[in-house]
Amino acid sequence: MSDLMTEVVSTPATAPRTFLGAGLDGEDEAQREVRGFTARQRFDLVGAGAAGAALAALLFGWFAPLSGAIGWVVVAFLAFLGLYVLLISLDSGLEEVKDRLSAALFSTAGVILFGVLVFVVVYTIARGVEALSHPNFFVQTMQFAGPLDALDIGGVAHAIVGTLIQISIALLITIPLGIATAVFLNEVGGRFARFVRTVSDAMTALPSVVAGLFVYAAVIQGITHERSGIAASLAITVMMLPIVIRSSDVVLRLVPGNLREASYALGSSKWRTVWHVVLPTSRSGLVTAVILGTARGIGETSPVLLTSGVSAAMNTNPFKGPMISLPLQVFDFVRSPEPTMVARGFGTATVLLLLVLFLFATARALGGRAPGELSPRQASRARATSARDLLRIASKKLPDPVLEN
């Protein structure tokens, strides 16, 4: 509908007549819509836009020998803003101008932000298609591909496997440790827990390359003496653990206290409360926390840059020999100025991107619900369970007191 109030306040003379009646009648109980457009506002927008574009074209083509697409866009946008303000001010007051101008600026910020971010992704995928269109890209390794070979030889299967192995090991450490620590922070508490929370919060500030440097100096130089998958996993773990702890901590904190209290009131122990109430309630949140941490861990290049080593061959043994992962493989490919290598780099980046998107979509599907909120399937399952319980309890109702007494 319309921005009725502002119209009424600022320019009573030009307020749309139909709405005035409807609004004052009080009969129309519909909520006032503050987020829409009137036809007039639309006209202002479109008109100013067209005029801005025309003015910019005139300036660029005839008046000033300006050139360049970016320059044109900037000039056109400034002209649009100026004309838009002018158009609004023709029949509205200062407040109205400010309001509409601010909305235009917000939208501009949004358009730029989403435009650029989507462009970053689309650009990567578009340039990766060249390599991705060769099916061998997904199943072969770079072992048999020399620097002169075309795109129909070689692939990144080894990097995909490397990424999966490394992230699996990291998750094997991170999930139990991270969630248990988060449970400790929330359910046990105390001074030591506060200390743990402070330390783990502090570690979220650890730059990922420093995590890599730590593993390089402590583990590679000190223990394993070679770059390997396990070293990369450890670096990812050091980077991911604080993130997972922090987000799990937040999720657990969101579990309503009355659920816990109800559980305690029923006489269950702390352990049972955590296992049967707290964790199931925050399940989707925890899964989301872990998956988002995973996405972060998979995508980060700098820890593996220092620790995993570079290999062109499939290596499934994380304890021996270099094991490359997707982000590092991207980095390794695009160092080369050769078009085929760059195409492979973009292809690998696309694979990485799709992996992260997949993880994110999974996180969205599983998470995104408040604690205790059930999906339709879960809800029907819960109803069925309650019904069964009811039947069971009903069937046992008579003998029970007898046994107890």
Binding site: L58, S67, A312, R335
Partner: protein
């Protein structure tokens, strides 16, 4: 309930754990060879990557190689985190550049793997046409990489290129940001040949200066030069990178007075003059002494030729990851590299090793634990530099190496044929001998002064990319036609045309244009605004 919590996580773990197993059956080759891992030089990485894939295909060997720079490779070898390292220079026990001395604690041996030329890849256009036949003398190169020469139209560069009208364009020297053997070879050459110009001595860390741009790895510098914005840039990099990137390299003046391209032939000819440390008891056994190469008097020799070394372990220690199983792979790999592998050196942009070094390398292989006592069978060795029964000091490539054309001789004229990756692009110049040396010199003088007075503005090269001119008419009238046409009058033509409009006039016209634009805006906006104002005041009167 809790099991439901665990299920997706467990599923994810199992899935990611199963995938590798499914994939791991793919390469079924690896029968008896243990994988080996090395790191180091990017100078010879192109050759190594090719060999790596060849031995994977043919013998099922897994050779991992990480091109992270020679210095990192040597550091890794000392730390024992790799089985072998590749470097252009030996361990630096007393480094000249103040870096940390390198003292490997385990036994090691140097083993030459391939020869090549450190070339000067550049990206230069004159009047929108790519130059592919640039020639540079040693001291010009040194001056460029010390910041003494900063513009392509410098008299020294012009003197090297009599047939090109060098544009007024700043030079962007691209250097290596990491510790690199290429930097070391290049600085060693400068320190030996031009000690007055280059005072730093041999260094792996090229010091940044003036307008220099630092990039990591041979890939990085070559990649920068080959970009559009790399126009005007020049870098030092192995010949193969220029070949791969499709860019030309500068022909470098040798001691015989010819400008030579670092082809496999010219490197092989030059390397005939290398002295090799043949004291097999020394730890620097087989390392190269290149003074003879720098001053080789053969017309065909490329002065910046050198070998790249593999550093191999000669003992198994508990400190590192090397063991005799890996020694077996390493030995087999090296036997391949020294013979069959050398066949591809030329195609890739390197030069194959001569027989004497293959012989010595064969002895070094025997020192690797686990590699076995079998050296190289010279009868079946497919190295293109020798035939069975040749004398070790002979190099077949040097025998058949072509002599440079007359137009490559210093002073008179300039060949039009392209180099390296741009070999099939000729640069349209006809600066034939009619101009003569005297003419060249006088013209050069005139041109330099003109260039100096014509300010530092946008240059002719920008013509090809008008999109760069946001600011309006910086470029508007300045179409510098740098391409030369007439013979002998080449310079005159280039000089007579102004290179660019001076910036000052540009600024004032810009303000005029701004005024014009404002006027346009006023014309568009003022009438409706005024009429509105008038109507409103009129309307107000009516309502009162």
């Amino acid at each position: 309930m809790p099991r439901r919590l665990a299920r997706p996580l467990v599923a994810a773990l199992v899935l990611s754990g199963l995938l590798p197993i499914a994939f791991s059956t793919a390469p079924a080759h690896a029968d008896t060879y243990f994988p080996i891992t090395g790191s180091g030089s990017t100078w010879s990485q192109n050759a190594l990557d090719q060999w790596r894939s060849n031995v994977a295909k043919n013998y099922g060997m897994t050779v991992n190689y990480n091109g992270i720079g020679s210095t990192s490779g040597r550091t890794d070898f000392i730390a024992g985190t790799v089985d072998f390292a590749i470097s252009e220079i030996p361990f630096q026990a007393k480094p000249q550049d103040g870096s940390a001395p390198e003292h490997p604690t385990t036994g090691f041996a140097y083993l030459p793997i391939v020869a090549g030329g450190t070339s000067f890849m550049y990206n230069l256009k004159i009047g929108g046409i790519r130059v592919t036949n640039l020639r540079l003398s040693g001291d010009t190169i040194t001056k460029i990489f010390t910041g003494a020469i900063t513009n392509w139209n410098d008299a020294a560069i012009q003197a090297d290129n009599p047939a090109l009208a060098m544009p007024n364009k700043p030079i962007t020297p691209v250097i290596r940001s990491d510790g690199s053997g290429t930097s070391a070879q290049f600085t060693l050459w400068m320190a030996t040949q031009y000690p007055k110009l280059w005072k730093t001595g041999m260094t792996s860390q090229f010091p940044s200066f003036g307008e220099s741009k630092a990039q990591k790895g041979s890939d990085g510098v070559a990649g920068y030069v080959s970009q559009d914005y790399g126009e005007g840039a020049i870098t030092y990099v192995e010949y193969s990178y220029a070949k791969k990137a499709g860019f030309p390299v500068a022909k470098v003046l040798n001691a015989a007075g010819y400008y030579v391209e670092p082809t496999a032939y010219s490197v092989a000819v030059a390397m005939m003059q290398a002295k090799i440390n043949d004291d097999s008891s020394s730890s620097a056994y087989l390392t190269q002494i290149l003074d003879g190469v720098y001053n080789a008097t053969d017309k065909r020799a490329y002065p910046l030729s050198s070998y790249s070394y593999m550093i191999v372990p000669t003992e198994v220690t508990s400190k590192g990851i090397f063991n005799t199983n890996k020694g077996k792979t390493l030995g087999a790999f090296l036997r391949y590299v020294l013979c069959t592998g050398q066949q591809q050196a030329d195609t890739l942009g390197y030069s194959p090793l001569p027989m004497n070094l293959v012989e010595a390398g064969s002895d070094q292989i025997k020192r690797i634990p686990g590699a076995g006592n079998a050296g190289i069978d010279f009868a079946s060795c497919k190295n293109p530099t020798f035939k069975a029964g040749d004398s070790p000091s002979k190099n077949q490539l040097a025998v058949i190496a072509p002599y440079p054309a007359d137009c490559d001789k210093k002073g008179t004229s300039q060949c039009t044929t392209g180099t390296a990756g741009a070999a099939n692009q000729t640069t349209p110049v006809t600066g034939s001998g009619t101009g003569g040396t005297a003419n060249t010199k006088t013209n050069t003088g005139t041109k330099t002064t003109t260039g100096g007075s014509s300010n530092t503005g946008t240059t002719g090269g920008s013509v090809s990319q008008p999109t760069y001119d946001e600011n309006g008419n910086v470029i508007a009238g300045s179409t510098t036609d740098g391409t030369t046409s007439g013979s002998g009058t080449t310079y005159g033509a280039a000089v007579s045309k102004p290179f660019t409009l001076p910036d000052q006039t540009t600024a004032s016209t810009q303000w005029l244009l701004v005024a014009a634009a404002l006027l346009l805006v006023a014309v568009v906006v003022a009438p409706p605004l005024l009429s509105q104002r008038l109507r409103r005041s009129g309307g107000a009167d009516v309502s009162r």
